[in-house]
């Protein structure tokens, strides 16, 4: 009984981490709670499915659909990242949460309709990446290999991100902006440039999450809203701005949801928010969040 729960929980956690990691990173750098995050997640999913189906229709090798997963995330990031940051977000820096929330909610609403116009209102699915890898048998239950591989992929994303932030010049600059934008500025960092780059990277992560999830979840209207709220929950539980926190929170929520499905099915949907409520009540800054010290 335990094995399938844990496997379900882990693969759910992988998806949750992929949904949330971009949101938490963008908050860390820009201090913007990006309601439009889920829109980029959904766009990534739609783009991956569309590209994959095109590749299939053109008779190209099926293996190309894996390339399409990454390519679509890059496309979404390049198309929307710089534009959104420059035109909309920049005007809200330092203006408080309400302005940010209005702007990102506005973008969310606009992109919702863009999705419907471009991709229609039917559910879309490309299971080539899923079927290509086949299935495996774990503890007597058959899983698509892709679903198991996704856990590995999430871990790879987590560690690459860690390596990027800790081990590269760009990453170190981003981290120092995350920690203290003012200090970054007087140390010679062009924080405006870092903001565009980081937001675009955050959009990339969001879209990548969507594209990697798309073979399993498909894409349909309403996906953005669902992704945004789950990302909020996971990011807030882990501590906004904390990548490791998002990983930990995804594990807790994923496993919690899997247990709920088996033992208390009425509560499976509520699990993320119950955990979120409980954690924030006692630790408003999240599990791994640090208390901000405000300068006077």
């Amino acid at each position: 009984m335990l094995t399938p729960i844990v496997i379900d929980g882990l693969s759910d956690a992988a998806l949750l981490f992929l949904v949330a990691v971009g949101l938490t990173m963008v908050f860390g750098v820009l201090r913007v709670v990006n309601i439009a995050h889920g829109s980029f997640f959904a766009l990534g999913a739609y783009a991956a499915i569309t590209l994959g189906l095109w590749a299939g229709a053109l008779g190209l090798s099926q293996a190309l659909s894996y390339g399409a997963l990454v390519l679509s995330a890059l496309l979404v990031a390049a198309l929307f990242g710089p534009l959104t940051e420059r035109l909309c977000l920049r005007a809200t820096y330092g203006r408080g949460e309400i302005a940010q929330m209005l702007v990102t909610f506005g973008i969310f609403l606009i992109l919702d309709d863009v999705q419907k116009l471009v991709f229609g209102v039917q559910e879309r699915q490309n299971d080539a990446p899923l079927s290509l890898l086949g299935v495996c048998n774990l503890g007597g239950i058959v899983y698509p290999v892709y679903q198991i591989a996704l856990v590995g992929l999430a871990v790879v994303v987590a560690f690459s991100l860690r390596w990027f932030l800790r081990g590269t010049r760009a990453g170190k600059l981003v981290l120092s902006v995350v920690h203290d934008a003012e200090m970054a500025r007087f140390s010679g960092i062009d924080t405006a440039k870092v903001s565009v780059a980081a937001f675009t990277f955050g959009v990339f992560l969001a879209a990548l999450g969507g594209s990697l999830a798309s073979p399993i979840t498909g894409a349909a209207p309403g996906m953005s809203a669902e992704a945004t709220i789950l990302a909020f929950a996971v990011a807030a539980i882990g501590g906004l701005g904390r990548v490791e926190g998002a990983g930990l929170a995804a594990l807790i929520v994923g496993l919690g949801r899997a247990f709920a499905v088996y033992y208390a099915p009425a509560f499976d949907r509520a699990t993320p928010y119950l955990v979120m409520f409980a954690v924030l009540l006692f630790r408003p800054q999240g599990l791994l969040g640090v208390v901000e010290t405000r300068r006077l």
Binding site: D112, F232, Y273
Partner: protein, 310 residues
């Protein structure tokens, strides 16, 4: 100051009545818009104290479900009783949540409210036998003292708007209401003066929850149906958008914001059914980027110019 504002209100009301008389369809749209305006007013009340709630839909939905349950369990169809049930259930819920949540500020307050509303959303969706699940519950055609109300619901909504707006104006002008603004600017100074900030916020939270419930109940009765979507975060975000669009600075702002939003939504769904969200999104961007004070800020612009000239 008093004169022009009262005149503005009278003009607005007259315009609303005129439009409503023209067609029942228009009166329905206006009823829903004003009902949502009441809930947005609750959101604006929190904004005044510097608190942003991302979960106010909880009370809006609780108002609707409260009314629906009264009808479902006791077969009540009387408009005033349904309204009372909605208002009470939201207020009681607000007293409980408020007691816990007013200790938190800024993004933490927003997130906790969001979490609370999403817990309800998820449970209401799942507990089919108790709540009708994602199908929701119907509300009966209401009666007023045993009669068919016709346009009565619209007039009742209008009356609620006037009573609430007037009462709130009084409240905001009182020492307590003035304290709210002080919380947003300098909470610590208020504590030094021996004022319990959390106590003040608690009262404020309860009032804003009650407004949400009243609005939710009115809207639910007008629509004749409640669904879990009422609890969803996008509803909260729309209420917040309405409040910000109208401007949290004045009591009329949230109503103006919601009327505009519902107007845009109605127009868009008439002429471009796939684009109403985009239209609303553009409204949100326009307000955030170009009119940070909201519509009531625009109303105040001539006064500012006058002052600038003097």
């Amino acid at each position: 100051m008093k004169g022009p504002r009262a005149l503005l209100w009278v003009c607005l009301a007259a315009a609303a009545v005129a439009v409503a008389l023209a067609s029942p369809w228009a009166s329905f749209i206006l009823t829903v818009a004003l009902a949502k305006g009441l809930a947005a007013l609750g959101v604006a009340l929190l904004l005044r104290a510097g608190l942003m709630s991302l979960g106010h839909a909880l009370f809006y939905a609780a108002g609707g479900y409260g009314a629906a349950y009264l009808a479902r369990w006791l077969g009540v169809t009387d408009l005033l009783l349904l309204l009372g049930a909605g208002f009470l259930s939201a207020t009681v819920l607000g007293l409980f949540t408020g007691a816990v949540l007013v200790r938190y500020r800024a993004i933490f307050f927003a997130m906790l409210n969001l979490a609370a509303s999403m817990v309800f959303f998820s449970l209401v969706t799942k507990l089919y036998n108790l709540t009708g699940g994602s199908d929701g519950m119907p509300l009966p055609v209401p009666t007023m003292f045993g009669l068919k109300p016709g346009q009565g619901l619209f007039y009742l909504t209008l009356a609620c708007v006037f009573v609430c707006a007037g009462g709130l104006r009084r409240y905001l002008d009182s020492a307590m209401g003035q304290g709210l603004g002080a919380i947003a600017t300098n909470e610590i100074r208020l504590e030094y003066l021996g004022i319990s900030v959390n106590g003040l916020l608690f009262v404020n939270y309860a009032i804003s929850a009650g407004l949400g419930g009243l609005g939710g109940a009115l809207a639910a009765i007008a629509i004749g149906h409640v669904t879990p979507e009422l609890f969803f975060w996008t509803t909260s975000a729309q209420l917040l958008l309405g409040a910000a669009l109208g401007g949290a600075g004045s009591v009329a702002g949230p109503f103006a914001g919601m009327l505009l939003l519902e107007g845009v939504r109605t127009a868009a769904s008439q002429y471009a059914p796939l684009l109403w969200e985009m239209a609303m999104g553009l409204c949100a961007l326009a307000v955030a980027l170009f009119v940070p004070q909201g519509l009531s800020g625009i109303v105040d612009l001539p006064q500012q110019w006058k002052r600038a000239v003097q």
